[in-house]
């Protein structure tokens, strides 16, 4: 386990470092002077110079880079000039909303994926299996913005039971918050639910064909008990690993789902910062998102190794 960590960690850190240089470099290549954007079109040369000094734009590039990384590591991100407020506060608020959305989607993915997987593996009628198969194919193929528009049309426009977008924090008003969370979380969860369902179906079918399950059947144990106590525990490890990978996908997909449902998370913050050219915030956010993604991948590698000893010695 530790050996694997020692092997994986350097390459993850290397990727992070390269990504930080890339993000930093790309935003320095942007045509136009960020100071001019901030100061507005009417600013005179002395105002511009003051803004440049405040942003540290006159320092040599390596110094600017180190200042930025140092700030990130100590949690001192500085103020956001265009959007207003402290960058750290903006990111904390967005992170809360995105986490809420991602966890909601994870719950949906497990519930729907689990149901589909168990149904697909245990159903006797061919058409039930066919229906499960078609459902997962459709959920995998259709882009989230198509399912998002369909969900809004069905639940917000036609039935009028759920709001079409926006957010009420779950912790301040749970009953109202759930209503706002349902549609975006469902939309984000669909592709992951389909992947989980297919994996579970496959894994469960193999577990049900094993000898100990036949022995249990011969001993007269009820089919439901066999499923939950004997087959499912065997089928779960690969699915748990997949869940880790899917969490990474959910974080990436959240950016889009937030845009569809006007959910004020990190994705919306990134979009807003980009449109309003608040480059320091864009820079912090991009690196943060990449860091979270790399971390989730590293964690799922470790979980996989924990569950499957063969990986450790590869």
């Amino acid at each position: 386990m530790r050996g694997l960590l020692l092997r994986k960690l350097p390459s993850a850190l290397l990727v992070l470092f390269a990504a930080s240089v890339l993000v930093f470099g790309v935003l320095r290549l942007v045509p136009g002077d960020p100071a001019a954007v901030l100061a507005g079109p009417d600013a005179g040369p002395e105002v511009l110079a003051a803004v440049r000094a405040r942003l540290g734009l006159d320092d040599p590039l390596p110094v600017q880079y180190l200042d930025w990384i140092g700030g990130l590591l100590t949690g001192d991100l500085g103020p956001s000039y265009v959007i207003g407020g402290e960058t750290a506060d903006l990111i904390t608020d967005g992170l809360g909303a995105t986490t809420e959305l991602t966890l909601g989607a994870l719950l949906f993915a497990v519930l729907i994926g689990g149901t589909l997987g168990i149904l697909g593996a245990t159903a006797r009628r061919p058409w039930t299996r066919g229906a499960v198969r078609s459902l997962t194919t459709a959920a995998l193929a259709v882009p989230p913005y198509v399912s998002g528009v369909l969900l809004v049309l069905l639940f917000a426009v036609l039935l009028g039971v759920l709001p079409p977008g926006g957010r009420v924090p779950l912790l301040t008003a749970p009953d109202l918050g759930v209503q706002y969370l349902l549609l975006p979380a469902l939309c984000l969860a669909l592709p992951s639910a389909a992947v989980l369902g297919r994996y579970l179906e496959d894994s469960l079918r193999r577990a049900l064909a094993e000898d100990h399950v036949r022995t249990a059947t011969a001993a007269g144990i009820a089919p439901r008990r066999i499923l939950w106590r004997h087959a499912l525990p065997h089928a779960l490890p690969p699915v748990v690993t997949l869940l880790g990978i899917q969490t990474g996908h959910l974080l990436g997909g959240a950016v889009l789902v937030e845009a569809i449902f006007a959910w004020p998370g990190l994705g919306q913050l990134a979009e807003q910062a980009l449109v309003r050219r608040d480059y320091p915030v864009v820079q912090d956010l991009l690196l943060l998102l990449v860091a979270v993604f790399v971390l989730v991948q590293l964690l799922s590698d470790l979980v996989h190794a924990r569950l499957d000893p063969r990986i450790r010695w590869e």
Partner: protein, 289 residues
Amino acid sequence: MTSTLPAPAATGEKAARRPRHPYLTALATARGRTGLALVGLVVLAGLLAPLLAGHPPTDQSGLTLAPVGTPGHPLGTDDLGRDLLSRLLYGIRADLGIIAAAVPLGAALGCLLALAAAAHPAADTAVQRLFDLILAFPGLILALAVTAALGPGRLPVVLVIALAEIPVFGRLLRTGILAQRGREYVTAARVGGSSGRRILTRHVLPNAADPLVVQIAVSLTVAVFLEGAMSFLGVGVRPPEPTLGAVLSQSMPHLAQAPHFAAGPLVTVTALVLGLSLVAEALNREIRR
């Protein structure tokens, strides 16, 4: 594939002389045909856009949010009074242009890098790290990063899709080459005196190519997805030019009054993506047999 039943005489003899290419067999299955038909319909609509559309896609008429079946506007009009049928058709055209440029570009670059990686271990390490770096930016974050530098537009969309596809194709081909190079027939060819280049082009590459063909179909669906996602994030092709994603994202605020606004792109994107998935699945099944 050995059959003990005598095949029907006419077609059987032909088939015996020239076995059909597995890709064609795959596309002739029910799955493959349905997929091809769906994709074909959408492509045809895009190609014939100038003939089928009654209005230019950016012309504004006085009628805003006109319903389906309005004279002169069969699919109605949008919030600015533009004809929805023509925006849909030209949107398909724009999407097809983008994905037809971006996916082959990404595939070609990825394959070139994989070939470079196959040439030397040092190059292999460098290429692998490059793929890791690109993959550290999940698709949409990559889109945000690229548009942060280039601004929104058609070129950044193409670039984002191509960039996202580079490691996908690169890794596939690299694994394929490595797997084939260890096979005995390659050793046999080398012992027989074939040059390295001939072994690569005549023996290794043709056998490593199958997964790439399937991946092209999959990547086309990813490209449709990315184009639409970038429009929703406000970093896609610049308005007023229509794309499937752009029309759909413009319809969002008007869904309550005018659900038909979204209908055209919804049906089209679904048909295109489902069709491509069916083709990919048909190819995959045939190749894995």
